[in-house]
């Protein structure tokens, strides 16, 4: 788990709000997945506070925007599943978002030296 405590969790949620769609696209770019499987991957990546109730609507929005496409796949065990994969438009958008994210993180990192007090020494 990444976040501990109420304040940390709230801040984590706020940070994630602007990056979750990019993270979902990145996870789907590695390998297509159905909705529930994608939630498990998000959890495995370390964002265990992100539930299905957040991921699935976002996935629906990305499908509406043409960033992901879905197709039915038979499952060896259980019912047929709708699997989502990143489209070409989605890959282009992911690249642009990642570049934007990198610039953003670079700016934030550049502000940090000499601004954050040293950790207490033992």
């Amino acid at each position: 788990m990444i976040a501990n405590g109420g304040d940390d969790a709230e801040r984590q949620t706020q940070l994630l709000r602007g990056a979750l769609d990019m993270c979902l696209l990145a996870l789907l770019a590695r390998e297509p997945a159905h909705g529930y499987e994608l939630v498990r991957r998000v959890e495995a990546a370390g964002f265990d506070a992100v539930g299905y109730g957040t991921v699935y609507p976002l996935l629906t929005r990305m499908r509406r925007l043409g960033l992901v496409a879905d197709e039915m796949q038979a499952s060896p065990a259980g019912p047929a599943r709708k699997v989502y994969a990143v489209t070409d438009a989605g890959r282009s958008r992911l690249l642009a978002w990642h570049q934007q994210w990198t610039r953003f993180v670079g700016v934030v990192d550049a502000l940090m030296p000499n601004a954050v007090p040293d950790s207490p020494r033992s």
Binding site: H34, P57, S75
Partner: protein
């Protein structure tokens, strides 16, 4: 009831209340069912997946899917219609007073000329009532013009409000008879309330009538 069916039924109610059209509801439900069944096959039930706020999830899902909402907006509609009724009543009363002399001349007829009382009642009461209906319909049509299907709603109101007036008038008169035609404030207040409640019911009915979806209409936005 099966947990998946129960969840989908809850979502269906939330989508309906959110103004999501039938075709979109069916498309959203079909996709959600597939995912819930996939999760169930892995041993995860809908409650574990969605938590307790299924209606909130359903509304978010509809919004993110970009479906076109056809929300009834009943509170705004009724408030606006009530303002229109008040304006229409005031205008009708004013015009009625202005024409009173004319009405008197018309109906203070020479002896021997007998006008049916129904005609007189229809004119005396129908005239202000027409203003009330016109006020409500026109105010809704103009003030809520940005709402979807408001023209159809106004048209339905133009039909249903007079019919409701025709039905509710004898009901109100019967109530007045039970009070001995009392003019006390509670009695008059109750009579006004009866009429307004009936008009509100007709307005709600008109809105739902305007938003009804004939089978086969509408394209799913979430498919």
């Amino acid at each position: 009831m099966d947990p998946i069916e129960k969840t989908l039924a809850t979502a269906e109610r939330a989508w309906r209340a959110h103004g999501v059209g039938r075709a979109d509801r069916e498309a959203l439900a079909a996709d959600l069912r597939l995912d819930l069944e996939s999760a169930a096959a892995d041993g995860v039930g809908p409650a574990q997946l969605l938590g307790e706020d299924v209606p909130g999830f359903a509304r978010r899902l509809a919004d993110e899917a970009g479906v076109q909402r056809r929300a009834p907006e009943l509170r705004r509609l009724l408030g606006t219609a009530l303002v229109g009724v008040a304006l229409g009543a005031a205008a009708g009363f004013g015009v009625f007073l202005g024409l009173y002399r004319l009405m008197t001349v018309l109906f203070d007829q020479p002896r021997g000329l007998d006008t049916p009382v129904q005609v007189e009642v229809a004119l005396y009461y129908g005239f202000p009532a027409a203003f009330v209906v016109l006020g409500a319909v026109a105010t809704v049509r103009i003030h809520l013009r940005e709402l979807p299907r408001i023209r159809a709603t106004a048209n339905a109101m133009a039909l249903l409000l007079p019919l409701t007036g025709i039905v509710i008038t004898p009901v109100t008169m019967a109530f007045a008879w039970t009070t001995g035609y009392s003019t006390s404030a509670p009695a008059v207040f109750a009579e006004v309330l009866i009429v307004l409640a009936a008009l509100a019911g007709a307005t709600v009915l008109a809105r739902h009538w305007a938003l009804r979806e004939p089978a086969g209409q509408g394209e799913p936005a979430a498919a």
